[in-house]
């Protein structure tokens, strides 16, 4: 680690503009596919900058354009800026872009679009994109930074450095001293005589001079904040009930709405009778929306109650009536016609298998709801001067276009105000709730309509994680794993997700084999084949996407072969490992857990798994005990290679959360459909892991690599296979299908 960035002016030029009483620093926007009338009346320079730092009479404000769904990106972005700016997080405000300042917010929307839409063509009307672009979109979006952290890591520090040096130049000009004699600390420039001038005082002067772009980023040895434990900036608000999430926002004159959608996912509505609902207390309107009915009242509960009184005639969905039908479609996909990719084909699989009786097994992973604890909601107001949208979203730019289409207003006049999200896990990469709110709002012009999904609507109308199946054939020789031929079948997540944005996709979908085809194990004969199942239930990106099922498939298959070879799961992985970074991760968890054997004692078992996903090698060891009440998960050890740990506290929290997320769903969660209707409607049937079931978790971040990575997703995929391995070691029961509570009880 520790590469010092040198960024040329050509790649990133930080500019400065005057704002009322001060100055703003940010990057110049090169790509502006759309002119924005909101920028009319502003100076050319003001309109052309995407700000990160604003200094005015109110103080220093750090602007953090990436939306936060709980993973702490507001905090991390602020820390990167503060590091070079020489301010501390306790003396600045952090602003994701206040809705009250449309100019800033619009600029932020542009910035967010740059992060999210790597190809400007993606938003163009020709709605066909290659899957590589879509892949990048997903990689950027769902990780909250797995692929953008390297970019932001330099970009934001550089913005802070340019601001600092420009403020120093302003101080030098004002005091008539050489810049070289100036220092900075806690938002002040220190003059040679020891006196101090605040950034706020210097801001108006800084706005009049050329920004100092010739700056070198500090060596990691000089970092004050990065790599050290920090107090996350949203902690106090979230512990005092003062954090405003999208569901909490209130706009003057607002009404409360909900929707009643065809219980059969994406099925049509043939007609409805709202005569009883319309007479209920507080109900203001019952209106049609796509696939259902919108119920508008003066209180959310009254809307929920009235929704129960609406009678509707529902149409059918197109996908299979039973889960057997879904599984059959997957099972039928392992044929050459359906082959989507074969990115890895080492050695000679067919010869090896022909020469010995192969180990064969089949694995299954179910549909899973995202189920963030904040049910989805959106407020939309269709006004005379455009449309305002207040919501938590990861795709503001798509949403802007979709709302424009529904309301018939130019997308430049659709203002999307993005809110802190009470979780997402990929849920808010979809925007059906915003579209439905817009459909209602356009029928109630001038009135802000807040649409809140009931938990039941949220869970049953989620676009879940892909259902998937894998088949293994493999061989062992002389106590070693010799051959792994793994086929993985699933519908295309990317195609399903993009179809709802009116985009078609082309080429193979790498998510079908993500977390499997590129694993750091040199099995002599190794073939990983992706098979694309025709669309079943509509699906979407779920925390770690393809790797969420494939990390299980690959490691479970490897464990099966390790057992056949009579080898130790840890030792055989170490022997096969052909990547030095991955090896260190495995060695770390082996050491942390003091691994000697998969069977540390009577009724106890340990499992190990390693998955490389989103560029991060993450290894986990899970230990369980087979108790009279069922399997108890005692402990987990985790190591991940991320290049640089920006904030050790947030890192620790995200890794533990990822492990728990992986364990929870593997234990007892699935979404099943009967006649197109989700059978699980609320947390009683999609419970996850409760407090008393939570193991102790020990975490280590490794910094041997040169690239900086995000950590939101990589801890998820290895959790399920490590748990399955532990249960096998403790009980002899080999688990090949999630959720595991179909086969074993959990204490």
């Amino acid at each position: 680690m520790g590469r010092i960035a040198t960024i040329t002016r050509r790649t990133l030029l930080v500019g400065a503009v005057a704002v009322a009483g001060g100055v703003a620093f940010g990057t110049w926007r090169y790509r502006t596919p759309y002119a924005n009338p909101l920028l009319d009346g502003l100076g050319e320079r003001e309109a052309a900058i995407t700000p990160y730092v604003r200094i005015d009479a109110d103080g220093v404000t750090l602007i953090t354009p990436r939306a936060d769904k709980g993973q702490g990106v507001y905090h991390v972005q602020a820390a990167l800026l503060a590091e070079e700016l020489d301010v501390d997080l306790d003396q600045v405000r952090v602003d994701p872009g206040p809705p009250s300042k449309a100019y800033w917010n619009t600029a932020l929307a542009e910035e967010a679009a740059d992060f999210m839409v790597p190809s400007a063509g993606m938003m163009q009307e020709a709605a066909t994109v290659g899957l590589s672009a879509v892949m990048k979109f997903i990689g950027l979006q769902i990780t909250g930074g797995s692929t953008t952290v390297p970019d932001q890591f330099e970009k934001l520090r550089r913005a802070g450095a340019v601001a600092r040096e420009t403020l120093k130049a302003a101080a030098a000009k004002q005091a008539g001293v050489s810049v070289a004699r100036l220092k900075t600390e806690r938002g002040e420039v220190i003059l040679p005589d020891g006196s101090r001038v605040t950034y706020v005082e210097l801001a108006p002067i800084a706005a009049t001079i050329e920004p100092v772009n010739d700056v070198a980023l500090r060596d990691p040895s000089q970092w004050r904040l990065i790599g050290k434990p920090m107090q996350r900036i949203d902690m106090v608000a979230k512990c005092t009930g003062t954090q405003v999430y999208g569901i909490d926002e209130s706009i003057d004159g607002m009404v409360h709405a909900t929707v009643l959608l065809n219980p059969a996912q994406r099925g049509p509505i043939n007609g409805f009778d709202a005569s009883a609902a319309g007479k209920m207390r507080g109900v203001k309107a019952v209106v049609p929306v796509t696939g259902g009915v919108g119920i508008v009242a003066d209180n959310t509960w009254r809307a929920f109650q009235a929704a129960k009184a609406v009678k509707a005639d529902w149409g059918k969905t197109a996908f299979p009536d039973t889960m057997d039908g879904h599984w059959k479609a997957l099972a039928d996909s392992f044929v050459s016609d359906r082959q989507d990719s074969r990115n890895r084909d080492d050695g000679n699989v067919e010869t090896a298998i022909a020469e010995s009786a192969p180990v064969e097994a089949e694995y299954r992973a179910p549909y899973l709801a995202h189920a963030p604890l904040e049910p989805i909601s959106a407020i939309v107001r269709v006004g005379d001067d455009g449309v305002d949208v207040w919501t938590g979203t990861q795709i503001p730019r798509f949403t802007q276009a979709n709302v424009a289409k529904i309301t018939g207003v130019d997308s430049e006049k659709v203002r999307v105000h993005v809110y802190m999200m009470g979780g997402s896990f990929g849920h808010r990469l979809e925007d059906e709730v915003v579209k439905q709110a817009a459909e209602i709002a356009v029928q109630m012009k001038g009135t802000p309509v807040k649409l809140t999904y009931s938990r039941e609507q949220d869970m049953t109308h989620d676009f879940p994680r892909q259902i998937a199946m894998a088949r293994l054939r493999g061989t062992v020789k002389d106590g070693k794993v010799e051959t792994m031929d793994l086929g993985i079948a699933m519908p295309s997540v990317m195609a399903s997700q993009m179809s709802r944005q009116g985009l078609s996709t082309a080429g193979p979908d790498n998510q079908i084999v993500a977390g499997a085809w590129d694993q750091p194990f040199a099995i002599p004969n190794q073939r990983i084949t992706g098979y694309r199942t025709p669309d079943l239930a509509p699906i979407s990106s779920w925390r770690s996407v393809g790797a969420s099922s494939n990390g299980f498939f690959y490691n479970a298959a490897l464990d099966e072969l390790v057992e056949a070879a009579g080898a130790d799961p840890m030792q055989e992985r170490l022997r096969l490992c052909n990547d030095p970074l991955a090896r260190k991760v495995l060695e770390a968890v082996a050491g942390m857990s003091n691994w000697t054997s998969a069977r540390p004692g009577e009724k106890r078992g340990r499992g190990v798994a390693l998955t490389k996903s989103f560029g991060v090698h993450c290894a986990e060891v899970v230990e369980v005990t087979d108790t009279p009440n069922g399997i108890r998960i005692d402990k987990a050890w985790v190591a991940a290679e991320v290049g640089t740990v920006v904030d050790p506290v947030n890192f620790d929290n995200l890794v533990k959360g990822g492990v728990i997320f992986g364990l929870a769903h593997a234990m007892n969660c699935e979404i099943t459909y009967t006649g197109g209707i989700a059978d699980q409607t609320n947390f009683h049937a999609f419970e996850g892991l409760r407090f008393y079931q939570c193991p102790e978790i020990e975490v280590r971040g490794l910094e041997n690599g040169s690239r900086v990575h995000g950590i939101g997703e990589p801890p998820v995929p290895p959790a399920a296979p490590a748990l399955a391995g532990a249960i096998f070691a403790a009980t002899g029961t080999r688990l090949r299908e999630m959720p595991f509570n179909k086969f074993v009880d959990f204490a």
Binding site: T242, T300, G423, S424, N650, L654, G658, I660, N682, Y692
Partner: protein, 152 residues
């Protein structure tokens, strides 16, 4: 009907069966109390009524028989309750949406049981779901809060 919320008496005109949750959120604008499931499975709506922890999604407005304390009344950013202070010290939150309920549940536990065992903490806190997986830090924070409250 009249309710006392965070020390203030308020008049609300609602159906007797409207859950307290929606009275707080939509009638009184106290949005610190969260809607998560509506069926007492997640605990995000936990408030205190007459000093006892209740799931506000399950308590009808007409059944409220004591003073109500919500997360906003437990403590404020300027004057934190010991449980909130412990949560901040341990940096418990991720998305934070469940934490109002977690904190209210923990505060009620420590009110009635100042020295809870691990099993006591398990029994109470297992009624609250966290989708982000902050349970390990919640456990640490409950213990810290217990120590602080005892020293107070």
């Amino acid at each position: 009907m009249q309710l006392t919320v965070n020390g203030k008496t308020v008049e609300v005109d609602v159906e007797p069966d409207m859950p307290l949750l929606w009275v707080l959120r939509d009638e009184l604008g106290l949005t610190g109390t969260k809607y998560g499931c509506g069926i007492a499975q997640c605990g995000a709506c936990t408030v205190h009524v007459g000093g006892m922890p209740v799931r506000a999604c399950q308590m009808a407005a007409a059944d409220v028989d004591g003073d109500i304390v919500t997360i906003e009344g437990l403590g404020t950013p300027e004057a934190l309750h010991a449980v909130q202070a412990a949560w901040i010290e341990h940096q418990v939150v991720q998305c934070g949406y469940c934490q109002s309920g977690q904190i209210m549940a923990a505060a009620a536990l420590l009110d009635s049981n100042p020295e809870p065992s691990d099993e006591d903490i398990d029994a109470v806190m297992s009624a609250n779901l966290c989708r982000c997986g902050t349970y390990p830090r919640i456990r640490e924070a409950v213990k810290t809060a217990a120590t602080k409250l005892q020293g107070a």
